[in-house]
């Protein structure tokens, strides 16, 4: 049995899944001040009637890291950067960076090495540090050496290229910075979670969801805490995956929560990823995630009416009046229209009626719904327009552009069933609401696979192979063809998976010792995300190649869930 927990902004959900079926689930209000309270109650509820020992794995999707950065409560970090020549980055990061002299160029050649003596002179003011060098993804050597020098003076040192092998020095730097800035928070959370689970008698291994939809063991997450930011949308996407509700064509998926609606786009059953990574506050980071856009409309969006002008959201004041709130919400309007059935119906009517007593209450509710639908439509249109403006770098894709044209809607979340039909009508699209839609996120968390992403870059001229995420730099590499580099990437990932006991399914340690047979039965699914293969001409004659393969243990689910 798998246990999934999703701590959202409004609700904390828990679900138990056994062989593709939902055994039991619970929905609690999130206890903002101390997330653990809500988690404990949710745990007690879902485990009330089951044998705790049968739980094989626990996965959490939590706002603990997200809230920390949103509320500016992260630790301050000493940030060491090796920018070399280029853009002025004096004001690009949350703190004034400590500049380290040196430069590695775009081919990964160290043009000028860092000055170790100068580093010794820097005074350490904080417990945590981060290091990031320009083009460290092409050659992580300098970054690694600087991090090693700093390691003695700090509790924790993050490296940009260890977190992302992709180009974009400011993004890797931001990832490294926040990685160190939230490690303390995640450590505390780890202790609290282990304690809470032990209280109930659950000893299964614990995983945390990442923004890209993969999961990490709790210890693994402590090396990359920044990746556990913004996991709510990832949980939704995985939940949708688990329901197998999205197949062909271009699908718009909506997760309608209490405060916000998350919009994601799917092409032929595959969710789209962000271009460079998520924004952490105003800072673009290298943390990969699904491309999910939040708009300020949810089931508990507050409704106001000033001089006949109706607004819905973007803020949430409290629960709907039907549930004892003090101001009317979109949910109350849906109750008035008979589209939702819960709570104190009379209170919902009262709230909507009092907005403007000169307007008939059902008419008012309809106007409110219309405003909400218009917001949602605008949000979807904006996301689709942006997707269709994605930069393209090859002639063929410009000449044969594949525009995103929505052909169906899939709606999940607390208000899915009450709003979905209206949204479908409004947009003129077929709409699907999977069963269990209310706890999609917790389901997504429960079935998340472990993932790992690497970038393998081969420079044939220099006979060099680099894997920045793993700190690998191999001289004397003899690979000359892109197919061979692809195979190498797969081999490296497979080895990594075996060394870390990552199976394409349940963690092997559950079943006792590691069995090679079980590994063979579970073929590891590796996905090639991106391939670049460029001829390099030097001296007009010799044609060498620069080849880059990005590969990952495939994001996905360990089992599908009946909906």
């Amino acid at each position: 049995m798998l246990l999934g927990i999703d701590v959202g902004g409004t609700f904390t959900d828990a679900v138990i899944i056994d062989e593709g079926r939902i055994v039991t689930w619970s929905k609690q209000r999130t206890t903002k001040d101390n997330l653990m309270c809500g988690i404990e109650v949710a745990l007690q509820q879902v485990t009330a009637d089951i044998d705790e020992k049968a739980i094989e794995r626990v996965t959490l999707s939590t706002t603990v890291v997200t809230n920390t950065v949103v509320e500016h409560k992260e630790d301050i970090v000493d940030l060491y950067i090796v920018p070399g020549p280029g853009m002025n980055v004096d004001n690009a990061f949350p703190v004034d960076p400590i500049y380290v002299h040196g430069y590695t160029d775009h081919r990964g050649i160290v043009v000028e090495s860092y000055d170790a003596d100068a580093l010794k002179g820097v005074c350490h003011t904080h417990r945590y540090a981060a290091v990031s060098a320009k083009f460290a993804n092409r050659n992580p050597l300098e970054e690694i050496q600087i991090a090693e020098l700093l390691d003695v003076s700090y509790d924790f040192v993050s490296r940009g290229a260890a977190l992302s092998g992709a180009l974009n020095f400011p993004r890797r730097t931001i990832s490294a910075y926040f990685n160190s800035a939230v490690v303390g928070v995640l450590k505390e959370f780890k202790c609290a979670v282990i304690h809470a689970l032990q209280q109930i008698g659950i000893e299964a291994p614990i995983y945390i969801l990442k923004a890209d939809g993969g999961s990490l063991s709790l210890d693994g997450a402590l090396q990359k805490p920044v990746e556990t930011i913004f996991t709510g949308p990832a949980a939704t996407v995985l939940g949708l995956y688990a329901f197998q509700s999205i197949h062909e064509g271009h699908t718009v998926a909506l997760d309608i929560g209490g405060t916000t609606t998350d919009i994601s786009l799917w092409r032929n059953g595959v969710p789209l990823m962000t271009k460079g990574g998520v924004y952490i506050r105003e800072y673009p980071s290298a943390v990969r995630s699904f491309a999910v856009t939040s708009i300020g409309i949810g089931g508990e969006s507050v409704v106001r009416c000033v001089d006949g002008h109706i607004t819905v959201g973007p803020d949430r004041v409290g629960p709907s009046m039907a549930l004892g709130g003090s101001e009317p919400t979109l949910g109350d309007a849906l109750i008035v229209l008979g589209k939702a059935q819960y709570g104190d119906v009379a209170a919902a009517f009262r709230g909507i009626e009092n907005l403007d007593i000169s307007i008939e209450v059902v008419e008012m509710a309809e106007r409110i719904l219309h405003v909400a639908l218009e917001h949602i439509k605008k949000g979807i249109d904006g996301v689709v327009a942006l997707e269709n403006k994605r930069p393209i770098y090859v002639v063929d894709d410009i000449v044969h552009q594949h525009l995103f044209l929505p052909s169906q809607l899939v709606v999940v979340g607390g208000s899915a069933s009450s709003l979905a039909p209206s949204i479908g009508d409004y947009l003129g699209l077929p709409v699907k609401v999977p069963d269990g839609a209310a706890v999609t996120n917790a389901i997504g968390a429960a079935v998340a696979k472990e993932t790992m992403e690497i970038t393998v870059r081969v420079d044939t001229k220099r006979r060099l192979l680099v894997v920045p995420e793993l700190g690998i730099r191999e001289q004397g590499c003899s690979l000359r063809h892109i197919e061979a580099v692809e195979q190498k990437a797969k081999d490296i990932l497979t080895t990594f998976a075996m060394e870390h006991n990552i199976l394409d399914g349940i963690h092997s340690s559950i079943h006792g010792a590691f069995h090679r047979e079980s590994m063979e039965n579970h073929e590891i699914q590796i996905e090639i995300i991106n391939i670049e293969d460029f001829p390099v001409v030097e001296g007009w004659q010799s044609v060498e190649r620069i080849m880059t393969v990005q590969a990952q243990l495939q994001v996905g689910v360990t089992q599908y869930v009946e909906s």
């Binding site: 002025n88 043009v111 974009n168 993004r171 856009t293 770098y393 460029f534 001829p535 001409v537 004659q541």
Partner: protein, 473 residues
Amino acid sequence: MWNHKDSYRVRTGILSDGGLSRSGHMQGCYGEQVNHGSVLGLVFFPAFDWKISVTHPERQERLLYTRDQIVEEGLLDLPNIREYNPIVAPWDTIERVHVGAPDLQSWVTDAHRVSAGGAIAAADAVLKGEVDRAFALVRPPGHHAMSMVHGIRGFCTINIEAVMIQHIRQNYNVKRIAIVDTDVHHGDGSQQVFYHDPDTLFISFHQDGRTLYPGTGFMDEFGGPQAIGSNINIPLPPNTGDEGIKKVLRQLVLPILDEFKPDLVINSAGQDNHVSDPLANMNVTAKGYAEIVDILQADIAVLEGGYSVQDALPYVNTGIILSMAGLDYSRVIEPNYKPVIQSKQVTNYIDDVIESWRVQWSKRKQMKANTLLDCGDIWQQEHSVYYDETGISEDRLEKVRLYPNKVGWHSIESRSLHGPYGKQQVYAMFIPWQADETIRSDAWDEAHRIKSMGGFDKYVIVDPLGAGQILLD
């Protein structure tokens, strides 16, 4: 002087963001849009799937390291840099500039159309007021391509700036346009396309044609008889550095622009004046290029040549982008850069060029009067054009119809022998974009007259703001 730092949308009072919002990132509620003043539209199109041949300088890899650098610098994440995709330039627009032998389709590929379409997308962003300036970082280049196309010249097939300007003239009310070509090679294609247009000023500074392809670009190529003074060639000695180019800009180019009073300034931004370029011999640095851009304050820049793909382009383009976006470019310095001091000899030579130019510029009105006095209604000239990529030689007879107060037609009688499509004989009549009905009617009469005499395989009329390209049959 020209350099007043106001963008097109500020000068003309149009300001719009075209409904574009960059808040597309996740959790869009964080990260308020910061207004940095100057917004740069960037069309970055490296055409990673197009080459002339495997080892040719125009190959897939050319903008690879530039991509690496600008992505690694994080330039595409800056709030005041907006990325635009190119469009595919419509055949109709291309045909209002170029005539092909045997036809355009024989030479022009999708890649060329997308490159020209990149320039068009950049122009649209500026002219609609969505951005302050725009940079089309596209390939393949175009400034060696002339209106008559028998093949590929200097890696160019169609003139992407000319196609862009055609698009601008068709869609926006812009009369006076200046092109400043900062490529190390003389922009002979752009010169030819606009040679008879007094409202399009073409300024090219380049390494002296006696020492570099295409071997033209001298002071006496000063504009056609009705457009004298609208073509400015500034040949510079090999080993000219940042100092020399900046001096030429400040002392010559800006004052000329100031007198011309352009509505729009376009920079043909070749990057082969760089000290490391393998095809030329100049000493300009990346920061020097950023300064050139800063001094010029062009509205639209379009990439041309530049073949030091590893050592120059990544840094030059970073410098240009920062400079056009109004950001600090002082830290853009090539790794291992060792300053090259421009020799006294070079400096003196440049001072002489500037002085000669001042004299010629001051005499331009008199020169125009004298030319017109000599040649009556029709001015004509023979010359030949060589297509280096395919080894084709084309012979041309060019004629211009002169009017006292109007811009007249010009025609090209063109013949080539040894191309892959065999012998070509094409007559093309180019009606000026300024044409009224009299000019148009005179042009048609002339084209029919030539056709009645025979001798060509095909006869076309190009009417850029009228019916487009028409094949006479």
